[in-house]
Structures are given as structure tokens and as C-alpha cells.
């Protein structure tokens, strides 16, 4: 009986992996060979929507001038733009630096929060109450938007059915080390192919929490961001879709981010994403299945996306079960299938694009040389499986015990590097 259950589980994992592989393969074909779906990015309007750019910050003296200076160079009517940096309990020079910006530019209006409930969702909720714009655009403090970025995002909202618009994230510190190079590959496949294919297919392009915007009224009417959810971006995506709104993926709205430069920082980031995403899985599994606003394909893709951070856990358990079957002398019939399991593992791990999706994105982006790093992605496999599984466990404990979440900021690297360069 136990052996039958173990074998059944292995078959389940193999089928799951094959389904994810088929999904990514289809995305790759749709993106590379199919017609691309545009949003309203080419229309001209003499009256752009009023926007409020919110930038959550906690001890960001190292990077805040990068994002603010980049935003100041963005093309957008100044009378329809306001920038609200959210100084969330910083103890460094963030407050002074923001006040200095405010003195120079009236439309930069910092919100200083000195209260015990720190975190991105509560900070955004407070800032939204002050914001005058009908569209909220969010950036993390280490991002550098391109000049036309705000326009590109705001134009998406000319479609009245659109509740959120997501732009493309491109790392700017790609050449720092092996980790940043590998993250660049993941980002390339994830946005250029995966997100655009999902938008082409009218399934579930995902709002990513930064480099994107949403309608302020919708969010305020539905209670703002939930401070107990770490992945407020994924939560918003599903909240929008289950309420009949659409999300646009704006591939032309490019923004540059600082990738983590150390494995420890990356590990914590992945664990946090996994924890938040899996909390959303537990909350939105039933609403996704039952909502009348999503079509069948949207629901299917919505489920694939919801489970994406649970898949490595299924794999890890599959690995352990395989080990059990090995010692029970039951591996014989699975010896050939074992390969398929690995195939799935390698292709579909986490939310990171499989190798053929990344290869395709590099062809589209025309980036020679980068492709040669593809084999090194393999060494991320155990790293991601481990950290995502820890995040999954965190989410289970959160859900069962009602434990609150604590916001953890990703470590920045920009200035440390500049100081080192100065020393040289």
C-alpha cells in the first residue's frame, strides 16, 4: 500500500513536470513565432492621466538619489505627476536627503513614517491616502526607470478595463559576478518571453510590485494592501483578475534594477518571495476556481502560476520518495522515468524560465555571448529548491498559526561598490 502511494506520487510529479514543460514550450512558440499583442502604448493623448509615483524606502541613503534622479529625467507633464518617497522608519540619512529633494522639487513630497508597523504594504496604504493621482506607480528604491517609462505605464490605463500595468525589469549590474549574470538570464526569459507570451495569450500577466502601476480607486475600494501578505504584488494580480479587471504587460516600459550580488541575499529574497507567493496560493486557490470573471484558459494558467512556488516542494518530496523507493528495491520500473522527472526539474523550477525559454529570449534581445552561461543555471537548481521549500514552509506556518509577517529589505550594493572604487 505504502509503495503504491509512493509510486503514485512519483507519477503525479512526473505529470506535473510535463505539464509545466509543455506550458513553457507553448509560451516560447507564441512569443517567438506568433503575432505580438500590443497595448495602448502607441496612442497619443494631450491629457495624460495624473500619476503618483510611490517609492517605499527603509534606510535607502545609498540608492535613493539614483531612482529620484532617473524619475526627474522621465518625460511626463510635471503638473500631472507627483513623487511620494515613503520613508519608512529609516535611521540613516534618508529623511534629510528626501527633504532636500522636496526643497528643490515641489512635486516630490516625502511621507515620513515613524511608527512601529513597518513594511511595504502599510507604507503604500498610507501613501495612497495622500496621493492625488488616479494611477499609482510603484518603484523599489534601487530601480532606475527609463525616460519614457512613466508614459508607457500610464498609457496602458487608457483602456478602462485595465486595472494594472506591469513593465519589464532589466538588471543593470549584470557584469558584477556570476550570480548577477545568471539573474540577468532569468529576468530575460521571464519577461521577454514568459510575461509577453501570457499577455499575447490573454491569460495571466503578472503585476510584479515594482515597475508597474494600478488604479488607486480599485485598491482603496477593496481595502488597500493586506499587511499580512508578503507578496502584495501577486495578491493584487489575483484580486484584479477575480474582480473582472485586466492586467497589461508593457514590454516596452523598461526599468533597470540592482540584482542581489551575494548568494545569501539572493537566498533570503527567494525565500521571502516563496513565502509570500504561497500565502497567495492558499488565499486565492478557491476564488480563482470559482470566479465568474476569468475564462477557462485564464483559470488554468492562473492555477499554474499560483502553484509555481509550490512545485519545487513537490520535487523535493519526490526526491525523498524516490530515495525511499530506491531502498525498497522499487526503482526498476522508474529507471527510465527518472529522466523525465529530471527533465521537469530542470525546465520548470520555481518561477524561473527553462533553458529554451531563456535561449529564445536571448535571440529576441540579440544578446550574443550571454547564452554561453546557460549551463551554469543548473547549479542554481538545489539552491532554489532549498530556499523555495523553506519559504513554502514559512507560508504554511503563517497560515496555520496566523503568524504575522515581518518585512525584510533586500540589501543594496551600489554605494559599497562606489566606495571600493574610490579607494582604488
Amino acid at each position: 500500500m505504502v509503495v503504491a502511494i509512493m509510486k503514485g506520487y512519483i507519477i503525479f510529479v512526473i505529470i506535473l513536470m510535463l505539464l509545466y514543460t509543455a506550458r513553457h514550450f507553448y509560451f516560447t512558440i507564441v512569443r517567438l513565432l506568433g503575432r505580438q499583442r500590443f497595448y495602448y502604448n502607441d496612442i497619443l493623448t494631450d491629457r495624460m492621466k495624473s500619476i503618483s509615483v510611490l517609492i517605499p524606502m527603509h534606510n535607502e541613503e545609498q540608492v535613493l538619489s539614483n531612482v529620484l534622479d532617473s524619475l526627474l529625467q522621465c518625460e511626463y507633464d510635471r503638473d500631472r505627476l507627483e513623487i511620494i518617497p515613503i520613508n519608512d522608519n529609516s535611521i540613516d540619512r534618508t529623511r534629510e536627503m528626501l527633504d532636500e529633494y522636496h526643497r528643490k522639487y515641489e512635486f516630490i513630497r516625502p511621507l515620513h513614517r515613524d511608527c512601529p508597523d513597518r513594511g511595504k504594504p502599510v507604507g503604500l496604504n498610507d501613501a495612497m491616502k495622500l496621493a492625488k493621482g488616479e494611477i499609482i506607480i510603484v518603484f523599489d528604491a534601487d530601480y532606475r526607470p527609463a525616460r519614457n517609462m512613466l508614459k508607457q505605464i500610464a498609457l496602458g490605463f487608457e483602456d478602462p478595463q485595465v486595472g494594472a500595468v506591469m513593465g519589464r525589469v532589466i538588471p543593470y549590474n549584470t557584469n558584477t559576478n556570476m550570480l548577477t549574470r545568471l539573474i540577468n538570464l532569468e529576468r530575460s526569459g521571464g519577461y521577454q518571453v514568459d510575461q509577453q507570451a501570457r499577455y499575447n495569450l490573454k491569460t495571466i500577466p503578472q503585476y510584479g510590485g515594482t515597475v508597474g502601476g494600478f488604479r488607486k480607486d480599485f485598491l482603496l475600494e477593496t481595502g488597500g494592501f493586506n499587511p499580512k501578505v508578503l507578496a502584495e504584488d501577486t495578491e493584487l494580480t489575483y484580486r484584479l483578475f477575480t474582480n473582472g479587471w485586466k492586467v497589461v504587460y508593457a514590454n516596452s516600459a523598461e526599468c533597470y534594477e540592482e540584482s542581489p550580488e551575494s548568494w545569501n541575499v539572493r537566498g533570503r529574497q527567494i525565500r521571502r518571495w516563496s513565502r509570500g507567493h504561497n500565502e497567495v496560493l492558499f488565499r486565492y486557490l478557491i476564488p480563482t476556481l470559482t470566479t465568474p470573471y476569468m475564462g477557462l484558459f485564464q483559470k488554468i494558467d492562473g492555477l499554474f502560476l499560483l502553484f509555481i512556488y509550490a512545485v519545487p516542494v513537490f520535487l523535493l518530496v519526490g526526491w525523498v520518495v524516490s530515495l525511499g523507493l530506491f531502498f525498497l528495491g522499487e526503482m526498476q520500473i522508474f529507471s527510465g522515468w527518472w529522466v523525465i522527472l529530471f527533465l521537469g526539474i530542470y525546465n520548470s523550477l520555481g518561477n524561473f524560465a527553462p533553458f529554451f525559454e531563456i535561449g529564445t529570449s536571448l535571440i529576441i534581445d540579440g544578446l550574443p555571448g550571454e547564452a554561453l552561461l546557460l549551463p551554469l543555471m543548473m547549479f542554481n537548481f538545489f539552491f532554489y529548491m532549498w530556499n523555495i521549500s523553506l519559504g513554502f514552509w514559512d507560508a504554511v506556518v503563517d497560515t496555520v498559526t496566523g503568524r504575522g509577517v515581518k518585512w525584510d529589505k533586500t540589501v543594496r550594493f551600489t554605494v559599497q561598490k562606489t566606495e571600493k572604487e574610490a579607494e582604488k
Partner: protein, 261 residues
């Protein structure tokens, strides 16, 4: 200001316009040919691999018994594999292995770079080897595999790898437009050749190691340095192919391929 002679379109929404019939034909013909080859040649191929491995093993380990057995399977027909004497580790070797594995785990878990991919990989390797070693400490006689059974599993696994790699390579090269067919075929050939050669070399080495140092390393070989490393060269060769195709599509050969719609 220097005048630009060519203004490239944005990469944002570009796509390849390919003759989809050609792409499908490429995939279907190669898959049919590949399966036909596998179906008719697998017997000869596995027998040849076994002969080569047996020859090498006998040369370097003259006292080792190495035989060639074959079994018939419904899908592939007759498949050959090596048979060899099983060497068990004994309690002393098992305890030493268990101790070393445990030591490696403790050492790596205590290091500041314990969260790095290599450390996590080595910890998992050690954990699997620890379980296997403890199995031999407490229940050597219950270990369910002989070296011959492992050898058969390895061969079946290799066939699984060849089939999957063939299908995967045909599919992932087939969808990248209808240009560069020669590069696609070369990629396919390189992956299959490498897979067969690498699989053969590894077969001989694994059998020798398991004979020389006992079957205590079986689970480690099977789970940690088995198919994982096959994917490495698959992706490596695919990466070279992609790099080449970037050159093709962004050169004169790729003229007219890109569309913006």
C-alpha cells in the same frame, strides 16, 4: 554628431516570421527517423557499449568478472547490459563512510558560505551518502540491488536519456524559425554523440568504482551524479547553438526574418 546609417527597430516586440510548415516537417521527420533508428539499432548500440566497457574493465581489472547479458523489452526489443560481481562494503567501511558524510555535513553547515549552491549540493550529496552508509551499517543483507541490477538500471536510464534528449533537442531547435537548419542538425548530432560517448565512459567508470570500492556508492551515483550531469552538456551544446543563431538572425542571412507585429 555622427549620422546613423542604420536605425534598428526596437527589440521589444520583434518576432521571427518562419514557415511553420517547414518547422513542423523538420520536427516530424526527425522524430520519425530518430525513433526508427532507436527501435532498430538499440540492440546493436547497447551491445557495442557493453563490449567496449567490458574490454576496458578487463584490461584494467584483470581479475574482475565481467559478462554481458541481455533482456527483451516490449518497446525497444533486446537490450544488453554488463553483469559483474557485487562487492559489499562491510561494517567498518560503512561506518567510516557514514562518519565522513556526517563530518562533511557538519563542516559545511557551519561555514559562512553554507547557503551557496555548491555547499547546498554537497550537503545533499553527503546526506544521501550518509543514509546509504547507515543502511549498510544496519542492514547490509537487505540492500535490494546487486551490481548487475544496477548495471541494468543504468542502461535503461541511458536509453531514457537518449530518447528524451533526442525529442527535446528536435523540439527546441525546431521552433527557432526555419533558418540555420545545418546548425540545428549539427546540434542534434553533437548532443546525441556526446550523450552516447559520455554515457559509455561513465558506465565503465561507475561499474569499476562500484566493484573496486563496493556498492556503498550506488545511491550517490544514481541520485547525485547521474542524469543531472547529462543536462549540463545538453544545455551547453544548446547554448552554443543559440549563440550561433543570434549571429544568424542578426546578420545578412537573417534579413527579412524579423517582423514587428
Amino acid at each position: 554628431m555622427k549620422e546613423k546609417k542604420v536605425i534598428d527597430y526596437t527589440r521589444t516586440y520583434r518576432r521571427i516570421e518562419a514557415d511553420k510548415k517547414k518547422c513542423v516537417l523538420y520536427i516530424v521527420i526527425l522524430l520519425l527517423l530518430g525513433f526508427l533508428l532507436m527501435w532498430t539499432q538499440i540492440d546493436d548500440l547497447t551491445r557495442m557499449i557493453c563490449k567496449i566497457c567490458a574490454g576496458v574493465l578487463k584490461k584494467y581489472e584483470p581479475h574482475m568478472y565481467v559478462g554481458i547479458r541481455s533482456e527483451t523489452y516490449p518497446l525497444f526489443g533486446k537490450i544488453s547490459y554488463l553483469s559483474a560481481e557485487t562487492v559489499y562494503p562491510g561494517i567498518q567501511i560503512s561506518l567510516i563512510n557514514a562518519g565522513i558524510s556526517l563530518g562533511v555535513i557538519i563542516l559545511l553547515a557551519g561555514l559562512p558560505w553554507k547557503g551557496r549552491p555548491l555547499a547546498i549540493y554537497l550537503i545533499l550529496c553527503s546526506a544521501i551518502h550518509l543514509i546509504n552508509s547507515l543502511w549498510f551499517v544496519f542492514g547490509e543483507k537487505y540492500f535490494p540491488y546487486t551490481l548487475t541490477v544496477y548495471s541494468k538500471l543504468y542502461m535503461l536510464q541511458e536509453i531514457g536519456i537518449w530518447v528524451m534528449f533526442f525529442v527535446m533537442t528536435v523540439m527546441v531547435t525546431g521552433i527557432i524559425g526555419d533558418r540555420g537548419v545545418i546548425y540545428k542538425l549539427l546540434t542534434l548530432l553533437a548532443i546525441m554523440l556526446y550523450s552516447i560517448v559520455f554515457g559509455t565512459v561513465r558506465y565503465a567508470i561507475f561499474i569499476w568504482l562500484l566493484y573496486r570500492f563496493s556498492v556503498i556508492y550506488m545511491a550517490f551515483f544514481y541520485f547525485m551524479i547521474g542524469p543531472m550531469f547529462d543536462f549540463l552538456y545538453l544545455v551547453m551544446i544548446y547554448a552554443v547553438f543559440v549563440n550561433r543563431m543570434i549571429g544568424v538572425y542578426d546578420s545578412r542571412k537573417g534579413k527579412g526574418v524579423w517582423k514587428w507585429s
